[in-house]
């Protein structure tokens, strides 16, 4: 019999262990303790975040499937829905970046096809330490390689993403993957097991010892010195196996052979079976002796908690079992009846005829204690000032080139060229063509746009406002593509919530997310929480990553970020209120993080974004690009580079040099837009929102005048600066 000490070693508290004993009326055996320790881990039970997440809005007119299933979904018309979700794979990637990132993609794709949607796109959100560090370069190279390896091999395009480089992610990198799927709305399948006597079928890869305890050992604890020893806890991915499992799942669903479907993710067979039983309010009997194994001599508890990848669990009526197994054989995946649905409301584990575990399903799924956090704003800043890399008195031209070359701004081409962004023939806007990726919908002029955003440094400055900014940045990107937001998914990457200042970051950020969503009438359709992102160096920047899906009425008019035609007028539009504290320039100068960011009038930003969106989707504008990291001049330079054409700007006379710097390089996330097009079109847009026509597209240089100040850089100089990440991938 296990002891309380073993329970603690598995990540439970002594009090939680006592509660388990109370719930099952006896001491748990080895199998039961292994299952409980995972089901009651932070990763599976959300015990430190569930109460807070209730503050997020989850209702909306276009919602097709809300939180609680493997992925959420929104209605995009004509009977189609888009399923989407973002999930983290941070600690596995910090320990083994290639496989950690690869299986992160594999896991989120399974979530999508588990609800019956064909995966049509992947995006990724990455955070590393500064690229000057060898460890960061190693993590970057291998994480990008792993994402590409999995997505490219399985035939799902990686259409967008983002990456930031900041010191606090040095030890604890972040790898968040988002996936989208397309389905008929009436063909979505739930994961609730139903029908006493129905058969439980496990299909896909065989089960091995890889990834044992990943959810509790890796995902629910801080990173430490001995993490190389945890490499066996990282799963190994096989995209070829997943490709077959995906096609097999979709064929089984198309033939209407399944009662319920669920993927095996964290905690493997334990959590997938317990969740299916819980949702269906039934019991399940599982015989681990019938699970195909890739290693001899595996113990029942190991089979129950293995996180071997590329496996699915489904419920099948007995009369359809033969047909299900035949389709598994066609796709050359294992298919085995491993159990059945019962009315016991218990998860019973057998090894052949021997009962080796018997656990009430509600105790596993619902009875894990939920904790109230002790919240305390920190007395002083938590994060050291970044090291300065730019002199305070650098002239504006040098500042512009330094910003364009800054790791957070430089072109992502060396990364996204490692991803297939065209397979499936839907990609209307590729990376760097527009602020959001754009996909065409089948047999329709309409399309969807998708973006993923979240600057942890801004959230570190001000968790509430920073989280709002993450939403605004995402909606701004959709607006520039011409899309209206339909739904949001988020991944909340934070440090240890048992520490009051981390709890404060988490609480404030969720409050900000909720408030921003309410102003935009956008529901949260699902998401993921990743806590304990800390190392000996301290916590990561609090990093809520926001992924959004929007719709375009006419995908042929999807926006572009690059200037298009010589002679077009250039304008700054929107309630742009730039400030330097917390900006990319402040980072380059090594400024301390400010304690608080400027408040935002979210409703005014929404109105401006709607005006931009309408102008883009009506085809009135030649380009639209939101002013993000680096401020106005960087945004204009990016539009020049995107279109391969220069621009001449006159900003008028600005008396105070410091104020000019604020205008040129200050940030106001989601609120400012660089647009180009015919004068008339810009004037009409100016009737709806603040708009200042201040330049003309043309030539092969960016030429900026403000009174006596002149800033001039050729396209070649801009491009050389912007290509600063290329040497990371020699």
């Amino acid at each position: 019999m296990p002891t309380v000490e073993q329970a603690v070693a598995l990540g439970l508290t002594a009090a939680e262990y006592a509660l388990i004993v109370e719930k099952i009326g006896r001491e748990p055996n080895e199998v039961e303790l292994a299952v409980f320790s995972l089901m009651w881990s932070e990763h599976c039970a959300y015990k430190h975040s569930k109460k807070l997440l209730r503050g997020l809005p989850t209702e909306g007119p276009r919602l097709a499937l809300g939180p609680g299933e493997n992925a959420g979904a929104v209605d995009v018309g004509d009977g189609w829905v888009i399923a989407f979700k973002v999930e983290s794979h941070n600690h596995p990637s910090a320990v083994e970046p290639f496989q950690g990132a690869a299986t992160g993609v594999g896991g989120i794709l399974r979530d999508i096809f588990a609800i019956g949607a064909r995966p049509i796109a992947v995006l990724d959100s990455l955070r590393f330490g500064e690229p000057s560090s060898p460890r960061s370069r190693y993590l970057l190279e291998h994480a990008v390689g792993g994402i590409g390896h999995y997505g490219n091999s399985i035939g799902v395009p990686t259409i967008g993403g983002e990456v930031y480089f900041e010191g606090p992610y040095e030890q604890n990198c972040l790898v968040n993957a988002m996936a989208l799927g397309l389905a008929r709305g009436d063909a979505l399948i739930r994961s609730a097991a139903a029908g006493v006597g129905n058969v439980l079928v496990l299909f896909g890869a065989s089960t091995g010892r890889d990834g044992i305890g990943g959810a509790s050992v890796l995902a629910s604890a801080e990173l430490g010195e001995a993490d190389a020893d945890k490499r066996p806890s990282v799963q190994v991915g096989d995209p070829f196996a997943e490709k077959k499992v995906m096609e097999c799942s979709l064929e089984l669903l198309e033939r209407e052979l399944l009662v319920a479907l669920q993927d095996l993710g964290a905690a493997g067979l334990s959590s997938s079976s317990a969740e299916m039983a819980s949702k269906g309010e039934v019991g399940l009997d599982i015989d681990v002796a019938r699970v195909p194994l890739r290693e001899a001599g595996m113990e029942p508890w190991e089979i129950m908690v293995s996180e071997s990848q590329e496996r699915m669990l489904c419920v099948v009526e007995p009369s359809k079992l033969d047909e299900v197994l035949a389709i598994c054989e066609k796709w050359e995946v294992n298919g085995d009846a491993i159990g059945s649905v019962t009315d016991t409301r218990a998860l019973r584990v057998f090894a052949g005829d021997e009962l080796v575990g018997d656990m009430p399903v509600p105790a596993l799924v619902d009875d894990c204690p939920l904790y109230d956090l002790t919240v305390q704003a920190p007395a002083a800043g938590l994060y050291p000032a970044p090291p300065p890399v730019l002199l305070a008195d650098a002239p504006p031209r040098d500042v512009l080139l330094a910003l364009l070359a800054a790791p957070n701004i430089a072109s992502r081409r060396p990364l996204f060229e490692q991803y297939d962004w065209i397979v499936q023939s839907r990609t209307v806007r590729r990376p760097e063509q527009a602020d959001a990726a754009v996909l065409a919908l089948p047999q329709s002029p309409r399309g969807i746009a998708v973006s993923i955003d979240g600057s942890g440094r801004r959230v570190a400055c001000d968790p509430y406002t920073g989280a709002i900014e993450a939403v605004l940045e995402c909606t701004a990107n959709l607006a520039c593509a011409g899309a209206a937001p339909l739904g949001l998914t988020n991944c909340l990457n934070f440090g240890n919530p048992e520490k009051p200042h981390i709890a404060w970051q988490l609480t404030e950020a969720i409050r900000g997310l909720g408030d921003a969503c309410r102003v935009f009438d956008v529901p949260v359709v699902g998401g993921n929480v990743s806590l304990y992102n800390e190392s000996g160096d301290g916590p990561i920047y609090p990093t809520p990553v926001v992924g959004m899906v929007g719709e375009l009425p006419d995908v042929a008019r999807a926006g572009r970020s690059g200037f298009a035609r010589a002679g077009d007028a250039v304008a700054l539009a929107g309630p742009f209120r730039p400030s330097l504290p917390g900006s990319e320039l402040a980072k380059l100068r090594g400024d301390e993080l400010p304690e608080g960011l400027a408040q935002i009038d979210v409703a005014a930003v929404r109105a401006a974004q709607e005006a931009i969106r309408d102008a883009v989707s009506s085809g009135a504008l030649a380009s639209a690009h939101d002013v993000a990291e680096g401020g106005l001049l960087v945004a204009v330079a990016e539009s020049c580079l995107g279109g391969g054409i220069g621009a001449t700007l006159d900003l008028g006379v600005v008396e105070d040099g410091a104020d000019l710097e604020r205008i040129l390089f200050g940030e106001s996330p989601g609120a400012g837009f660089v647009v180009s097009g015919p004068q008339d079109a810009l004037r009409r847009l100016g009737e709806r929102i603040d708009l200042d026509i201040f330049g003309t597209v043309g030539g092969n240089a960016l030429d900026v005048t403000s009174g006596a100040v002149r800033i001039e850089a050729t396209l070649g100089e801009l491009r050389t600066a912007h290509d600063a990440l290329a040497p990371l991938f020699p």
Partner: protein, 222 residues
């Protein structure tokens, strides 16, 4: 023309290839399952991109032995038109239908990029709708696309006009010998290329230059 597009476990671009074939006036397409040796009366074969059988062992090495490929090889030997794209090119080289081999890219990384390829030789059956020297904008996406053949074979390919496509100036994305992007067999009825013409058939998603390969095939068929 009835195209047959092979589907192996691990194929990724077979549906895209079907869509491309169906865009050509007079073109239709159906999937050919790897385990079925019956070609179902098709008039041309496309071996599509992807990672057949996971590309384990060596790219294209396992796919070459699938039941459908035995039939495709016979079809090609009898003069049938066979187009191999990316992984399909690799499979056709493994099957001995095309000379040479594809090696890992010189930078040893996957590369996805819109590239310019020059039509070295315009003519039936695969480049009949192009002009000599015409530049086509078509994407590449692969890890193993560096075309290699021994020097004497390369010389013979050049001399016999079997090199149909070359990466345009300074645009070789993988280190291919002689900038080769696509080659045909000696009889001219089998053509393999690393760029993906099926992903350049719609102005909405990129360029339309790749469509010329498919229209050429239909027009050659008469």
């Amino acid at each position: 023309m009835k195209f047959g597009v092979v589907r192996f476990p691990g194929s990724c671009d077979e549906v895209d290839a079907v869509l491309a074939c169906e865009r050509v006036p007079g073109g239709s397409a159906q999937i050919l399952w790897h385990g079925d040796p019956d070609l179902h009366g098709i008039e041309a074969v496309v071996v599509p991109g992807g990672f057949s059988y996971g590309d384990y062992l060596r790219v294209g090495a396992i796919a070459r032995f699938s039941p459908v490929m035995e039939s495709v090889i016979r079809f090609a030997r009898e003069g049938g038109l066979v187009l191999g794209i990316c992984n399909g090119f690799q499979v056709l080289c493994e099957a001995g239908l095309l000379p040479g081999a594809l090696l890992p890219n010189i930078e040893r990384r996957f590369v996805c990029r819109q590239v310019n390829v020059e039509v070295v030789r315009a003519g039936k059956p695969f480049t009949g709708d192009c002009a000599d020297g015409e530049v086509l904008s078509i994407p590449v996406k692969h890890t193993t696309g560096r075309y290699y053949a021994p020097p004497d074979v390369l010389g013979s390919l050049e001399a016999r006009g079997q090199i149909l496509l070359r990466y345009a100036q300074d645009g070789n994305p993988n280190g291919s010998s002689n900038d080769i992007a696509g080659v045909s067999n000696a009889d001219g009825n089998v053509f393999g290329l690393m760029p993906h013409p099926e992903h350049a058939v719609d102005p909405l998603t990129g360029s339309v230059d790749g469509l010329k390969i498919f229209t050429s095939m239909v027009h050659a068929h008469g």
